[in-house]
Structure formats: C-alpha cells, structure tokens
C-alpha cells in the first residue's frame, strides 16, 4: 500500500505527462502482479464498490479525532473532499501496516454486508497503521470514488513501455468486461489469445472538433460526410450467436437495449459494428431527452420500449467474418458495411448512417445548418482513406458541430467546487427574468479561467446574502453568457425547461443584470428547437 500511496502522491504532484509515465513505469517495475492488476483496474475505473457508508466514516473519524460531528462537517466544506478530510483529522498512526494494495482491497470488499461494529473495528485498525498518503488512498478506495489524474492513454503508454509491447495492442487487451477477480495480470496482459473473451470490444476511435474552416481539409471528394447523431455512441458485437452492446464509456449495456438482442440471429457471427444508439420512431430520430428516460433504469418495461425505442445508426464495421478489419481504409469498410446491411434484414434495427452528398464545402456548410431540424448535432468529416484508430486522434476524423445556443443569465447562487477547485466558488446557479422575478433555470461550472474564478470567489464573499451549508445566495448582479446544446420541456424544473450541456462561455461584465434574457426568450427557443 505504501508504494501505491507513493505512486498516487507522485502522480498528484506533477502535471507533466512524461513524468507521470515515468512514475507509473517505475511503479510497475516494483509492484507484484496482483498489485499491478489492481492498479490498472483502478486507473481504468474498475473500482471495488463501496462497502461502508460515508455517513459512518464521518462519525468514526470525528469520534477518534475527538471533534464534534458538526465541526467535522464544517471542515469537510473547507477541504472539499471526504477522504482528505478524514486523513487530515484523525490521530497520528500508532503502528505501521505492511499489507499490499491487493490485501487492503480484499479487506474492503469483505466488509460488504458485515455488521457495523465489525466494519468499524476494521476501519479504525486500518487508520491506526497508516501515514497520511496511505490513509488518503485507503479512504478513496473505501468510499468508492477514486479518480487519479492519469488518462487511459498515459496508462496504456506506461504498460506498453513496461511490457515492451505496442500501445494499441495493450489498449485492446484492457477493453472489456474483466475485473481483477476474473483474470490475472498474466492472462490480461501477456496471454497468447486475448480474444478468448468473446465480449471484448475494440477501443473507440474518437474525433476532435475542426480547428479552422473545413475547406482547409482539401478536396471534399477525399472525405465522407455524415450526420452527427445525438444518441449514445456504441459498439454492437455478434460472436458465437451472442450479442454484446458496449457504450463509449466502456460499459456493457446489452441488457438495457433488448431491441438489439435479435441481431444475434439476423447478423452473421464475427460482426462488430460501431454506431449510435439512437432513439428513433416513424422514420426519424427523437431527442436525446427521450433516451435519457431509459438510461439508469433497472427494468426496461414494455412501456419504455414503446415510448423510447432505439435503433442502431451504423457508422462503421470493425470486424467482418471474424476478422479485425480496422486497418482497412474507411471506403473499404464502408462498402462491407453497406453490403452487410443489404444482405441481412434486421427489421429496421440497423440503419446505415447515410453519407451527406455534397459537391463542395459551401454546400456542406448549408447541410450543416440544417442539422437542428434533422435532430442532429452537426456533421462528421472522415477521410475515406482512414483506418480505424484508437482513442482521440487528430488528422483523419473531425466533428463539425453546430454552434451552441446561448442566453445571458444572472448568477443567483454559488457553491464551492471539489478537488482542485475546493474552496473556490465555481458552481453557479443561473436565472432569467420573468417580469420582475428571477427564475432559476440551470447550473453551470465550467468555461471560465482560474483567474476569473478567483475574482468571482472574492466577489461572492463580499456579496453573499444568505448561506445554506456550502451554498450561498448572492446579490443578483453578475451576468454570464450560457451556451448549451439543446433545450427541452421539463416538469421537474420551476422554469419548465432543461438544458443539455450548459456551460459558461463568457462573463458579460459589459451587461447590467436588467439586460439579461427572459423566461420568454427561453420559451421561444423551446418552441424553435425543443
């Protein structure tokens, strides 16, 4: 554990990617295979689930720190992180544990369904034998919310470097449904046949936004233009008569989409399609909002299947006849995809994402401007010669999204952030005018610079009206331009609307509060684009 805690501290102390990789590689050199495997699991968001309620941890920590619970909570508001608050507050260690990361994780997992006294004894004993960094990491593990500032990409690079293997091959091995309970380090990283796992998906290829005018990409005939559909990017796998559906977040979601289950009969084995899980009815896409009603539900009822049906809008073919064809050029893969969908009747479940045929970039711009009316987010621009790469890469695939909608709104509440932004006011609630009243309609927390957040934090301190725990109501004076991708009617919100991806694009210092937008303006947008 000490070594893992040290790794965490090292990664936390630097923002330089080279350094991070260096630290990871030297960790891999020292850790044993079990610890290596768990470290990879944690870094790829395969964390053990929470086995102790945080409310209990708070109580135990305040008890042994000899601090009243309310003071613990006040301290937590200042620190902005529970694991850190506990690590800072509890008494210094009285012994030194020497267990490995893997041992601690097993101890934490074994706490599931045990009674409170037992859990307490185990946790207090753990704390009593750890230094600050170990405690912090242990608390992160036990609260189930461990995030480390290392991207998947960096982790792959480090493993590849350590193993002396290719990065892409490593990336593929790490995909899929494994957990440290079902596999060993050797099996995962070094086995001869990584594809023994028939559910294993391919890493997604992701696009960057265009950086300048698309016309600078050259001859339009070298590019495939498609609509950018607004659903969930997914990968559907048909192998050995079974169907597996993966979301881009590397989550296995087969059960959530029974519509796709018949594909196991309708499509040949050894087929992997990259597409969009898209809500769709009467020949056209529905809003993303409809899909949202399905996400997160445990039971997919008949009613939901009827009100929020999905299709697979097919973009690309990654495996054909059991062969990985990702290194074929897109124009070849596309031909195979078209043929596949022609030869096999999927009863409307699989639909080809049609190319947008245009002669030149001006015509493309016209097509892009039609996006909102087609329920699409813009255009995708893919080089016809491109192979299917891994992760977000520049050069061959671009997204050309439509400009977001914007509205000028007034800050009504401010709350401090977490982690890097702890004790800075970074999370705001915004309102628009409804006659003389202000109606809150959205929250936003990104889009400003650190400098601006600092300045606003000072302003919030001076302009607080009331405090509600960590939230403050402030004088309604500051105006911000809020950008968002979509607008929908909502019964849950007082304003009657909900926004998709709201964020701040600008602090409108030039605008007095009375010139901010109104609820009527929002309602007009809802009519136009909702």
């Amino acid at each position: 554990m000490k070594r893992f805690a040290q790794l965490f501290a090292q990664l936390d102390q630097t923002t330089k990617t080279l350094k991070k990789v260096e630290h990871l590689v030297s960790y891999l050199n020292e850790a044993d295979d079990d610890d290596k495997l768990w470290t990879i699991a944690i870094l790829s968001h395969r964390r053990p689930k929470r086995t102790v309620k945080t409310s209990l941890l708070r109580i135990w920590a305040s008890e042994i720190a000899n601090v009243p619970l309310w003071l613990f909570e006040e301290s937590y508001h200042v620190v902005g992180d529970l694991a850190e608050t506990i690590a800072l507050m509890i008494p210094a260690k009285t012994q030194q544990h020497t267990k490995r990361l893997t041992d601690w994780i097993n101890i934490i997992k074994a706490l599931d369904k045990k009674d409170e006294d037992y859990k307490k004894a185990v946790v207090l004993d753990a704390w009593s034998g750890m230094d600050y960094n170990e405690r912090f990491v242990f608390n992160k593990l036990i609260t189930g919310g461990f995030r480390i500032g290392v991207s998947q990409k960096l982790m792959m690079r480090a493993i590849a470097q350590y193993e002396g293997q290719e990065e892409n091959a490593m990336a593929h091995r790490l995909m899929g449904n494994w957990t440290p309970d079902t596999i060993t380090y050797d099996e995962l990283i070094r086995s001869e046949n990584p594809l023994d796992d028939i559910s294993k998906p391919y890493p997604f290829y992701l696009a960057y936004s265009v950086e300048s005018e698309p016309s600078e990409l050259g001859e339009i005939s070298e590019w495939l233009l498609e609509r950018k559909w607004d659903g969930i990017r997914g990968q559907v796998i048909i192998r050995e008569n079974q169907v597996f559906v993966w979301s881009r977040g590397e989550e296995l979601v087969t059960d959530k989409f029974p519509e796709y289950h018949s594909l196991g009969l309708d499509l040949p084995n050894g087929t992997v399609i990259d597409g969009e899980i898209l809500p769709f009815a009467d020949g056209k896409p529905l809003t993303f909002n409809v899909l949202q009603t399905r996400i997160g539900r445990k039971n997919i009822t008949k009613k939901i299947l009827q009100s929020a049906p999905v299709i697979l809008m097919c973009y690309d073919l990654l495996e054909h006849d059991g062969k990985d064809i990702r290194n074929l050029p897109l124009r070849e893969r596309r031909k195979l995809l078209v043929q596949l969908l022609k030869d096999h009747d999927t009863k409307g479940i699989c639909q080809l994402s049609e190319g947008v045929a245009v002669e030149n970039w001006d015509a493309a711009a016209v097509e892009r401007s039609r996006s909102r009316s087609l329920m699409s987010e813009g255009l995708m621009i893919k080089r016809l010669d491109s192979e299917y790469k891994i992760g977000r890469k520049k050069g061959d695939w671009w997204k050309w999204k439509i400009d977001p909608l914007t509205i000028d709104a007034i800050m009504l509440y401010a709350q401090s952030g977490h982690g890097r932004r702890a004790n800075l006011f970074t999370d705001y609630t915004f309102a628009v005018w409804d006659g003389e009243n202000l109606v809150p309609f959205t929250k936003a927390y990104s889009g400003l610079t650190d400098k601006e957040f600092n300045e606003i934090t000072k302003w919030v301190r001076k302009n607080t009206k009331e405090k509600f725990g960590p939230v403050r109501s402030v004088n309604p004076e500051l105006v911000f331009e809020i950008a968002f991708e979509g607008i929908n009617a909502s019964k849950r919100h007082k304003s009657g609307i909900s926004l998709r991806f709201p964020r701040m694009v600008r602090w409108r210092r030039d605008k007095p509060a009375k010139e901010a937008n109104t609820l009527n303006d929002l309602k007009k947008m809802l009519e136009l684009y909702g």
Partner: protein
Amino acid sequence: MPVHQKNDLLRFTPKGIYCEQADVYIDPWRPVDKALITHGHADHSRWGHKSYLATESAAPVIQYRLGKINIQTIAYGKKISINGVDFSFHPAGHIIGSAQIRVAYKGEVWVASGDYKLENDGISEAFESVKCHTFITESTFGLPIYDWKPQQEIFADINAWWRTNASLGKVTFITGYSLGKAQRILNGLDHSIGKIYTHSAVENINEVIRQQGVSLPSTNRIHKDIPSKDFESNLVLAPPGALNSSWMKKFKPISIGIASGWMALRGARRRRAAERGFVLSDHVDWKDLNTVIKATEAERVIVTHGYTKVYTQYLKEQGLQAEAAQTEFTGENLEGENIPSIDNSTTPNQ
C-alpha cells in the same frame, strides 16, 4: 459582529482594537494618534499613525517598511503605564519582535495576541504563555484539519527536494513571506547543497534583520547581471507574489515549491500547480491553538481573523464565553503579503 460591551477594557471599533481608558489602539487599521503594534506584518502595522510603540526587535522592520515614523520601543516584559492602564509586551513566537500585548487595569487582564505560534523557529523570540481574563486570538488555522509536523521534518523534505533538483541541474524555487517565513526557511536550509539566491524583497528584510545582530546564513541578492546558468542547481527564495511573474521566467529549468500552512490542502496545492507544497506556517495549528487558550486560563475569548464563526462555536461548546470580532487582519495568505486572503475560509469573519 462587532463586540461592544460598555465596560470592556478593549473594544473593537471601526479604527481598530481600542483601549478607551488609555486612549490607545492595538494594531489599528485606520490612522490614529497612538498605536501599539504587535508585529511588523502589513495587516498589523499600518501607515499613518501619529505614534507607534513596538518591541525593540520589531521596530527596525517596521521603520524600514513605513519610513519616517514616530516610534518608541519597549523591552519584552517591561511595563508601561498609561492613565492607570498597564501595558506589557510578551513574545508571540510569530516572527522576529512579535508580541502579545498584555493590558491590565484595576485587576482585570486582557491579552491581544496578534499572530502567534508555539514552535520555536530559532529567530523569533519563543512564545510565552500569559494568563489573563480575556484573550483575543486569531484563528487562521482554527480547524482540526490543520496539524503541523515538526519543522525539522519539513526542512528535511525541503532539503531532499533541493538535493534532487540540484542533481538534475534544476533551479529550486521556493516562496515564503519575505518577513518571517523567508528567514525561517533560510535557517532550515542545508547550505552544503548549493548557493542561496534571494529576491530583493526578501534580501531587504534580511539586511534589516542582520543589522539587528541576528546572524542569518549568507545569501546572494538577485540582480539582472547574474547570468541564468549561475542559478542552476542552486536555490531561489522569493515572496509569494513572485510566483508566475515574468521575473520568475529566467530560472530554467525550474522546480517550484510553496511553503505555507495552506499547502495542507490538496486543492490549494494543485490549483497553484506547484510541484511541491510544504506545510510550514508561522501560525498555530488546531492543537496548539487550543493548548494556548487553555494555558491562558481565560474565561472569555474573542476570535478575530480566520475561521472565526466555527471556532467561536467550538469554544462555546467547551464552556468558554466566546465571541467573534470583525477586524481587518488577514492572517496567512498565499497571494501576497497584505491583500485579503482568498483561501482563508469558506466561512470568513463576518
């Protein structure tokens, strides 16, 4: 929440902490006739008073910073009587010359403690506990999350970091207040590792302190004629305001460290993108704060800058008469030396 009780020996007024019976102020933040000064930090020792009284070892820095002022000095522990009120200055251990001011009148004793710490840093006169009925205290780090390690451990960390940087040919760049923290760091550095260069703001204070007869390790003032490569493997000591300035850019390759109590929090560390945060403060942590208050045997405690509201509540639960007072003191802050603190609290003193 100004504290106003008619018979109070010391009262919190818009100009500062006021003793009506003697007609003097302690650390006033608006110009007054007679100011008693606990120490030379800019939020306690301000410009514009007609006369100043401070300890002998605090006076040189105050004079250096404020220029031509009418200042008298007093030895620690010596009594001065003003209209029947006895005043005496006692070591606060915060920075050189820092004092708690004891105020006694007709058997009632108050202590205004300014800023203080318990750990003896070897430069400041070591803290002495003073018994009183009413104790005025700061609460800059008045939460149980602040628990300082002994300074030897911190200096060992700083020196190990410098040693590593030196072996890589890097410039070690560390920041701390030019008055107090900088000299404390200087004293803790292992001079066998390399040369120590100082920012002018730090070196100016060093010179004043050396003239007082305090010996400080030898330092090199930075000026524009020193070629960049001279800094390699050596250490640069600068005030917090120099962070990310254009002045800093000439030190390459660089490794940046910040020495401050606020470095206890991960968010504060990461936001500043410093490679290293060293938890070193010239204020008391939670346990020392409580130790000091207990030792004063005070029944009444008035809490000034810091987590005033929360700490007052805590003291009340401990059975003390406690109240929060509004002042314009800022405690330790990370951005500069005399601007209000950004990180101070989510519950500022109001």
